[in-house]
Amino acid sequence: MIQIAVSLRILGMILIVFSLTHVPAMVIALFHHEAEITTFLSAAMVTFTAGLLLWYINRNALQELRTRDGFFIIVLIWTVVGLFGAIPFVFSPVLSASIVDAVFESVSGLTTTGATVFVGLDTMPRSILYYRQQLHFLGGMGIIVLAVAILPLLGIGGLQLFRSEVSSFSKDTKLTPQVTQTAKALWLVYIGLNIACIIAYWLGGMSLFDAVCFAFGTISTGGFAPYDDSFIFPQVSLHLIATVFMLLGAMNFSLHFLAFRQGKFSSYFKDTEVKAFLAIQIIVFLVSAIVIFDQTTVLNPVYSLVEILFQVVSIGTTTGYTVTTFHLWPTFLPFLVLVIALIGGCSGSTAGGIRVVRMLLILKQGWREMKRLVHPHGYFLLKLNQKVVPQRVSDAVWGFVGVYFTVFLILMFMLMIFGLDFVSAFSGLVGAITTLGPGLGKVALNYGGISESAKVTLTLAMLLGRLELFAILILLTPAFWRQ
């Protein structure tokens, strides 16, 4: 049976930590003399009180966590933090958003989707704009990983939580012997990348505020921007900086860790997944460039090339920043870029999607079938990075992809029932489930114009995508709740 009390105790602690993350937004509000100071203060109070209560009531529930509890807690935490994260949007006098809109925005931030329902960002209070970006920052590496890293109290069963949250593929790659250490290491790498990105943006000509906001949206492969027009900067240098950091965010963080710790930069080039990921980006960039140069009149070739590169990488890494109206690109290109968003980034990264490694394993299995036909006596193993992939893993990959597409179809039909046309439903769902953000058609610019039930569906899709389906779906199975 699920140990509800323990779960609520941990949830309480996490809510207390989460309430503290409102402080930077308060400081910004104070600095800019914005009325949002009370918004954040009251939101923080509510969250803090709720957390304290949950923790206090269950303070004696100290049982050890089981793997099963891990799944339950993960889903509980992401949902509840998503709800509490929406409070400032509701409380804000400027926005006074509906609960559905506020939750959509909050979950979109935490899951690093970057789809927004708000219009008029240019005139919004700075503190609110910063708060949205900070949601990306927190969600990018994972709330739980953060909690495991900073809350020694979670030590009991931290591994179960960590395993359930970190991308299913890198579960077993513990970088350090202790899970707390691993979580800390990952967060250090993550913060390091964010700082590097802030400095690069700042040197590239952004204001410090913009640099921080965009860096939070870039490394987490989120996609929120403090402007209505997304990545509004025209400088080629900033486009290139963003491209590099989006790519870094979408690579396996254990590779970054090895590079930081041991100076092993060679591990990037030896990793099959990274190579395949980069190859996908390059190929789609080249195809897009050829088609665009062929079908439209290009005024400034260099600028256009950088713009196309930025756009392809932004979507391929499931970031979702836009510098050009990619939904108006000629012929098949809008769909092509959405397909690479479906493939997504590398395992163990901040990016979403099916993940390159799963696609790679599926293709390799196809290739193996062909080799088996040519060599009927042959004995072929599935290998990745020259190591054998256990049968268990390839089964899991097939299971995942099967479930992914089934869920995708069901949610797409739901969206169509809730009034979206096919293109909007398909692309909006890609945008949500891969944590990309923008779609095509009605949801190309923002998600403000769709029905409330569609928004709820997409909110669910974002959570499903961020938690890689199984953690949530497993809660729906009767077997999970049985004793």
Partner: protein
């Protein structure tokens, strides 16, 4: 020399025989009395029965005044421990051990006087792998031996009809190959070794031994065999350590297929090999070979642990159109039986081990020695130490050096540069001299030539 051989297995026995021929005092140690009684009746040697790693047994075998211990028992651990004990208790100057298991060989730093006191490691599997991969490189060669770290190769090929050099006297070789540094050192015709003179004529089916710089070997082979395309497809029967090692050594340069009968072994091979294709099946299964395009295979290596299967699968492969087939055969009776049959090359890990041990037994400044073909001939690499005063060879030209009948200086490597020896070439200090000796019995004479006179010290 007083030599103790531990282990009277096949290698130990043949080694003992060979060493007795060269007038050494040999003591053979084995845990079982059976092979020893027979040997001590047949040969003039001492035998000791007991665990080779026990100090008492080693002492009985005369470890106190032995010059060398050769540990070739069936167990790696006993071999290592015996060397270790001989080193610490009896201060035996040189210790050779056969070690088969890669788990030990992977850490060469283990083997020194402070850790495991083994001076020379012999790994039969590595020897066979090296030997075979050389032969794969030159599929027309019957034997390829490296000297001077692979800069010079001594190659044996069978001369083919219609090849450019057939029917030509040797003095024309230089005319045929103007830019090539090569020298024919011997010709074996119907089992007889001919020491080449300038007017010796190369005939069809002669086994020609020549020495050449690595870059020229291919060219010389094509002069003796006609031009043939370089090999691409290699098939290995047998997924044991030798098959696996060979496949790993070759898989990046050739299309390699490995056949193994054992399913778990097939899995292990597939894990370890990145490019080579692993086939699960029987090496003597005609359909399997046919399905895998056996007729396009350039080299077929039968390397299972079963002599009969190796012979049968190599024969089958040859009949199905493989250019060159090799078989690993360990039973002496089969080796003689199979020679000069459909199997092009017979490989014996025992012979390889024995030859390797023998090469380490050479005295003076001989750094390498290889037996050639099946005969008595040997090729040596020796370093000329000293100066014109204390050395019998330094400062002399090649024709001035008094070599035994038929022996010749084939090449000289000076500061990394390969020179084919001419009559007027002068030997300088620190030259690596590569010699060809048609009769093993003359070797002590050559060893003495390379020994530095007393004034050196």
């Amino acid at each position: 020399m007083k030599i103790i051989i531990l282990g009277a297995g096949r290698v130990g026995r043949t080694l003992a025989e060979q060493l007795l021929l060269e007038h050494n005092d040999v003591t053979l140690v084995d845990s079982s009395p059976h092979p020893l009684t027979y040997l001590s009746e047949k040969f003039d040697l001492c035998t000791v029965v007991g665990n080779a790693a026990f100090p008492e047994v080693l002492e009985k075998a005369g470890a106190h005044d032995a010059d060398m211990i050769i540990a070739v028992t069936a167990s790696d651990e006993v071999n290592m421990l015996a060397c270790e004990i001989a080193h610490h208790l009896f201060k035996t100057p040189s210790k050779i051990a056969r070690i088969r298991n890669n788990e030990y060989i992977r850490y060469p730093q283990l083997f020194n006087a402070k850790a495991i006191a083994v001076d020379i490691l012999i790994n039969p599997e590595d020897l066979v792998i090296n030997y075979v991969s050389r032969l794969v490189e030159y599929p027309n060669a019957l034997q390829v031996l490296d000297f001077a770290h692979g800069k010079i190769e001594l190659v044996m090929v069978k001369a083919l009809k219609d090849a450019p050099l057939i029917g030509q006297p040797l003095r024309n070789v230089l005319v045929h190959l103007p830019s090539v540094e090569a020298k024919i050192v011997a010709i074996s015709r119907q089992g007889k070794t001919i020491i080449p003179e300038p007017d010796t004529i190369i005939e069809v089916d002669d086994d020609v031994f020549f020495i050449a710089g690595k870059n020229n070997v291919r060219e010389v082979i094509s002069e003796l065999r006609g031009i043939s395309k370089p090999p691409r497809n290699i098939m290995i029967a047998g997924g044991g350590n030798i098959g696996l090692g060979l496949a790993r050594a070759l898989e990046n340069d050739y299309h390699v297929k490995v056949i193994t009968r054992d399913k778990p072994r097939a899995r292990r091979l597939a894990e370890k090999l990145q490019k080579a294709i692993v086939l699960h099946g029987n090496a003597v299964d005609e359909t399997l070979l046919f399905d895998e395009n056996i007729n396009d295979v350039d080299v077929f290596c039968a390397l299972t642990d079963d002599d009969e299967i190796n012979i049968m699968s190599a024969t089958l492969a040859k009949r199905m159109g493989v250019r060159k087939v090799m078989a690993l055969i360990n039973r002496q009776a089969y080796i003689t039986l199979i020679q000069n049959s459909t199997v092009d090359i017979v490989i014996s890990s025992h012979l390889a081990t024995m030859n390797n041990v023998l090469s380490h037994l050479r005295r003076g400044d001989v750094v390498q020695a290889h037996s050639l073909g099946s005969g008595n001939a040997e090729a040596l690499e020796a370093i000329a130490h000293g100066n014109p005063e204390n050395s019998k060879i330094i400062g002399k030209t090649v024709e001035q050096i008094p070599l035994p009948q038929g022996a010749s200086i084939a090449a000289i490597v000076r500061a990394g540069i390969v020179m084919i020896a001419q009559a007027q070439t002068m030997i300088m200090p620190e030259d690596h001299v590569i010699l060809f000796v048609p009769d093993k019995r003359d070797i002590p004479q050559i060893e003495r030539l390379f020994q530095v006179g007393l004034t050196f010290f």
